[in-house]
């Protein structure tokens, strides 16, 4: 099967993708690719932000060269940030994107991608795939789900039977593992001076929103009372209702806040419906990720007041704001005062 440039952009694990990366690097030169204001650099940063805020990266189709190059450049940025959590979030988001796209490929294409990208020993019979058990084990070992344990699979004559969906999932997992392995490879990376600033800025943003290991404010009462919402959240809700195109950080704050106080991802769809780029399936997908229902199962909480302030999302209008450091604390305190009457 001959793959297209679009395939190389969506599936960075096929040989064509690395071939194109190599050619572009030779033709353009690394200095141009990483020059300040370069499209590739912008897209790479966007890609990492997408990973954090929506847990799934998108495919930028307007310029496929830029899209193809942005993955290795994003990896370069991640390597210089050296935050394993961030790396995992990126790898997971890349996996999610690959998985979502694989779901709409046909059987022939799936087979070709697996063989080209991972050298798997696979056979296809009508609507079923059969993969050799060693390939299966290597790719599935990180999936913590009893249905993926070898003992629960149909294994005959050395081959594991897989449905189309599971086959796609397995390929996406193998890609994730590859991203993580690539990132942990020891190699000297030279990043140009002017990028250091960009990396630092990105890192700061990331640290503000990554889930803290020791989250104290995990359990806020499931009560839902908009009267007790902090001013920042109220303003965001208003903006969303007006159909403003909210930046990543704003959507992330809204989603995590509402999920933290007990809303289910499906219930939040209405809030985002008016956004210009609304896509129901994708929105639900990343809401569920942020809620920790699927994927890496990390449940996010909203950023602290300090972080929100640096993003210009804080808009205090009452005294309580000066006494709290986190919007969720604001909410629980306000709830109590309301109850006391």
């Amino acid at each position: 099967m001959v793959f297209s440039k679009l395939d190389a952009a969506i599936y960075p694990f096929i040989n064509l993708a690395s071939q194109i990366v190599k050619e572009l690097e030779e033709n353009l030169g690394i200095n141009v690719i990483l020059s300040p204001g370069s499209e590739v650099l912008k897209r790479s940063i966007e890609r990492i932000k997408e990973a954090i805020y929506s847990r799934v990266t998108s495919v930028y189709r307007a310029d496929l060269d830029v899209e193809i190059l942005s993955h290795p450049v994003a990896m370069l940025l991640l390597k210089s940030i050296k935050d394993t959590r961030l790396l995992h979030i990126y790898a997971e988001a890349e996996k999610n994107r690959v998985f979502l796209n694989l779901l709409s490929e046909d059987y022939e294409k799936l087979l070709a991608l697996a063989i080209d990208g991972f050298n798997w020993h696979v056979i296809r019979e009508n609507y079923t795939f059969f993969i050799r058990f060693d390939d299966y084990l290597k790719a599935s070992i990180n999936i913590i789900d009893s249905h993926w344990k070898l003992v629960n699979r149909k294994l005959v004559n050395g081959y594991v039977e897989l449905s189309r969906r599971d086959f796609s999932r397995l390929m996406a997992e193998a890609y994730k593992t590859r991203v993580l392995e690539k990132a942990s490879q020891e190699e000297v990376i030279q990043i140009p001076e002017h990028i250091k600033g960009i990396v630092e800025e990105l890192n700061k943003e990331v640290q503000g929103v990554l889930p803290k290991v020791d989250v104290r404010i995990t359990h806020i009462s499931g009560e839902f009372n908009p009267l007790a919402f902090p001013p920042c959240i109220l303003r965001l809700l208003e903006d969303a209702d007006k159909g403003k195109n909210l930046p990543h950080m704003a959507r992330f704050t809204l989603a995590t806040f509402l999920i933290s106080i007990g809303k289910r991802p499906e219930e939040l769809l209405d809030i985002f419906r008016k956004m210009p780029d609304y896509d129901e399936r994708k929105t639900l997908y990343h809401l569920r990720h942020v809620a920790g229902e699927i994927g890496s199962r990390t449940k996010y909480i909203p950023p602290s007041c300090a972080t929100l302030r640096t993003f210009n999302l804080c808009s205090p209008d009452d005294d309580l704001c000066s006494k709290v450091k986190h919007p969720l604390i604001y909410y629980s305190k306000k709830l109590r005062t309301i109850k006391r009457g």
Binding site: F133, D134, L150, V151
Partner: protein
Amino acid sequence: MRERLDNEKSGNESFVKRVFKEYYSKWYGEPPKNYNMREYAFIISRKGDMIRHKAFESWDEVREFLRKNVPLHGFYSSAYYLQPSAPDMDAKGWIGADLIFDIDVDHIHTPCKDVHDKWVCLDCGVVDKGMPPEVCHRCSSKRIEAKTWFCEKCLDVAREETIKLVEDYLIQDFGFSPKEVSIVFSGRRGFHVHVESDIVKGLDQRARREIVDYVKGVGLTLTSKKRKVLLPPLNAGGWHGRIAKGVYELLNSCQVDDLIRLLGLKRGPQIEENVREIIKRLEEGKRCSTLSGMASKIWLKAVEKAIAYKRCEVDERVTTDIKRLIRLPGTLHGGTGLIVMRIGLKDVETFDPYTHAVAFKRDYVKVRVLNMPKITFLGQEWGPYDNEVVEVPLGLAVYLICSDNAIVIDEVL
């Protein structure tokens, strides 16, 4: 008294050395695959430490080493290394490893052990019959010494597990060719199964753990994602088909009364009806169907039995260890004097260690046997003996001396 015992023991040891030397003087052995990429290890004397990190360039060197040093035990690594003789594990350069299974009656409960096995706590002196516990039940000491025997029934269990492992799992499910699988009598109470194949060579510990869990039926889910009890069709592959077939055999081969007793069910009028329903569904089934109520209760109990019957009892520590030292086929086991011996798959059924793995088949010697139950050795019954001087075949004498059950009296060979 102590001195006499030590003298006798050293008499025993020099006797064993002498007969082992005889054995290794004509030894050819059979090199494992890529024998020069393996680490070798030996125990030369009873009190001596294990000599590790040996490597050999040619098979003749191995023979030479055995002839000269006459070890009590010989091992080689399941792993292949770039530098097998490097003393530091990291410097060895691990390339891959065979997949090894250990079926050892030590870890399998056989009812006959209550008859022929004994253990003693070296700290408080408690003596008891049967399988030795992890810790002494009186003083919690771990210093436990066991006196074990390998009877006909134990052998049957080990043989059955081995055949099941190789035929049902390694060949049928995992698809290895019989040429890649070799079976080795461990020299004492079980069998080792070695898989030498490029497919498994590079697998890490976690992947090997999945293989062990598969073989042992660990982690099976019997319900759907929505927690409904599932009944797989008879022709389902892998474990689910194995369970379906197991239950089908069980339900068809038992009278209802026996079934009720076997599965520990409460007698009731719907049982027969439900059993018929399960059989019918198994026969018709094209895909998984769900069960509820009494039928699901009967099904789950029967499944438990089917799993216990079909699973394979292997020691997971051996299989998951990618740097394991394992006995070198062809060498003698210092605890029995029997040959650690490769056996063809079709010969397992008829394999008798006390005939086929006996290295010394001629000559008789006089020994004082401290304790021995009745044993069939070289096709003849011997014993039971209790602290008496008897003349027995050399092979049996070596066996008893190696296992500390006898003392040499007549040293003339």
